[in-house]
Amino acid sequence: MADTNIIELVNVSKSYDNNTEVIKDINLQIKEGEFVTLLGPSGCGKTTILRMIGGFDSPTTGKILLDGKDISPLTPDKRPVNTVFQKYALFPHLNVYDNIAFGLNLKGVSKAECDEKVKNVLDIVDLEGFEERQINTLSGGQQQRIAIARAIVNEPKVLLLDEPLSALDYKMRKEMQLELKSMHKLLGITFIFVTHDQEEALTMSDKVVVLADGMIQQVGTPEDIYNEPANVFVADFIGESNIFNGTMLEDKKASFAEAVFQTVDDYPRGTKIDAVIRPEDVDIVKPGEGQLQGVVTSVDFKGTFYVTFVQCGQYEMEVHCFELHHENEEVGLKIDPDMIHIIKYDMTLNHYEGRIVNVLEKTVELKFADALVEMPVTAICDGKFTISNGELMDSGKNAVDLNELILDVSFDPAKAQLSDNAKDGMVSGEIVSFYYIGDHYSYTVRSKNDIDYVVDDEYLWNQGDKVGIIVPRNLIRTAL
């Protein structure tokens, strides 16, 4: 594997006509010969990135470099890149040979050379002698192979694969995963693979790029992504995980789920954290042993292991174990320090830029994000301001220019509440994602102005629910 970047995305953003930004300032380097997977839930922008590299979409801002040269102005036919499309996109009016030779014919390759190359790629995809077959006589798996053959016969520098296995059944998909991997080794070219299937991404790739919401969440080897998730989203999206809110104590100790755990990761005392524990990293021990005590609430057999849920006080822990435990059995849970992954809590959540737009008798109108709230002046910046004659005065009794006063407005996700009446509360929006955190859910609510709010709630809501967010006025914090 060479160490040069073959593809480089530099500050790439993409917005559509209606101003929805689907890609938000992405930087990404892909090395020559790598098998890179773009992984994320639907709507995260992974296919858009692939289409921009292929030339079917152009970035609104930013550059796409191939071998150091900006290819963003080039049309798809001028790029040394080929695509395997999601639904194969084989030409139904041509037979297998003509489909594969389509690109070669355009380049004016001689008949003899063309025959040779087609035979060669059919050999690679294991469909020798299929030249004369019509496309509609092929099975899904065979069409998939022909689509790959049609792309690689052009000897592209980069092969783009847009969820190519999603239409295949489970067994065929597993088979094709391994075959694609060995094809990648054989050809030695760069593969960029798009999928929403995290297992597929972990199995196949040298490098996984986890995307959500048009932003890169983490880039790393499959092991890195699984063992050291960069944030709660990645932890939740890749594999199963137990996530708990907690605080760091001194000396590599963390407190969460009402217990104290020895950890490997170290952060300053008092740092707010999310602790991520994989279900297979929890050991069920005798009652009284281990850090947590609980009762088994449900057991499901999964072929090679049991999915066991243990209720520890108000916290729930998912455990994957090989021994069978029974419902209502009292157990202890033991977690080794190196199995606890600590993620620093994202302190930028629910922080917005705010301005005072109106000064009344004893109160001010504070505008931030989508909200306009009336607050007592004493609540602003811990009583730093006063009002006299309808003007805002600072502690030195000087009038403050409202245009120059920018406040940092924030609220604690735990202190806010969701309401099913969207009209209630400070702002309204739609739930775009949520995670289960030990004893409650953490919801991300997006308003129609595309501003995100994070709210903790113990009740289960669904993605897409329209909700109002209620924040008690006295719990809105402001700072300069």
Binding site: F56, A89, H93, N95
Partner: protein, 259 residues
């Protein structure tokens, strides 16, 4: 099972009755009159007359020319219109398609009359360019019949096939010729069939614009109005044969997409 089978045989009955009464019987009548003489004896005289009489064969070729030009211009106009409607910025908004199909709701002769007025406004005396005006009126009348089937076949065309063309190194033009056209052949063929044959026999336009009866439809009419059922029928029969041949060829084209 058996019961169900006999029941579904009954469902077919209305169709069979309809086919016999309105398709097979008229067809037989046409063929019978076409291949018999006035005394009712079997004869090829009408058939030979058709190909040897300068009036009939002349009209036949003249009709073919008019129909061919009408079809050609309809195709040249309809394809880009259908493409823009199906894939352009108006995609998925069928109201724009309606704009092109709406004239079909207005009476045929009314449309030709209106168009005649417009042409008179531009040309003065429309009798100066009768052939040209005939083609304009014909194209205007038949355009929706060409747009609709082509539109339908382009709408069905998966965008990823077009993108696959670009991806494999084809320019826009090459993709159009090698991917888009071959995959929309069924639409083109049915559009051509729907325009060419009616155009060959459409005498209303010619009559109104040209004051001419020099087209197959008029010719049949003129034979029938002089009670010459035999010569009128043989023209119909020949047209039937032409239709039959065209259907066979177009089916062949659609099924055997490789040319």
């Amino acid at each position: 099972m058996n019961n169900k089978n006999t029941l579904s045989t009954y469902y077919v009955l209305p169709y069979i009755i309809f086919s016999v009464l309105f398709i097979l019987l008229p067809l037989f009548v046409v063929l019978y009159y076409g291949f018999t003489d006035r005394t009712g004896h079997l004869s090829l005289a009408n058939f030979i007359h058709f190909f040897t009489n300068s009036r009939t064969i002349g009209t036949f070729f003249y009709s073919v020319v008019i129909a061919f030009l009408t079809t050609l211009f309809c195709l040249l106009l309809a394809y880009p219109i259908a493409y823009i409607l199906a894939k352009g910025v108006y995609r998925g908004r069928h109201s724009f398609l309606l704009v092109f199909v709406l004239p079909m709701w207005i009476n045929f002769t009314l449309r030709v009359t209106a168009l005649k007025e417009i042409l008179t406004y531009f040309e003065g005396n429309i009798a100066m360019h009768p052939f040209f005006n005939t083609i304009i009126c014909m194209v205007y009348d038949f355009l929706p019949f060409m747009i609709l089937p082509i539109f339908n076949s382009i709408v069905k065309l998966d965008d990823s096939l077009i993108e696959a063309g670009y991806d494999l190194g084809a320019t826009k033009f090459q993709t159009f010729v090698k991917v888009i056209i071959p995959l929309t052949i069924p639409g083109i063929v049915s559009g051509v069939t729907m325009v060419f044959l009616p155009a060959m026999t459409n005498y209303v336009v010619l009559d109104m614009v040209y004051n001419s009866t020099y087209i197959m439809g008029s010719l049949i009419g003129s034979y029938f109005s002089s009670y010459d059922w035999n010569n009128g029928s043989i023209i119909s029969a020949v047209l039937l044969i032409v239709i039959g041949l065209m259907t066979i060829i177009s089916n062949h084209l659609i099924n055997n997409k490789k040319w």
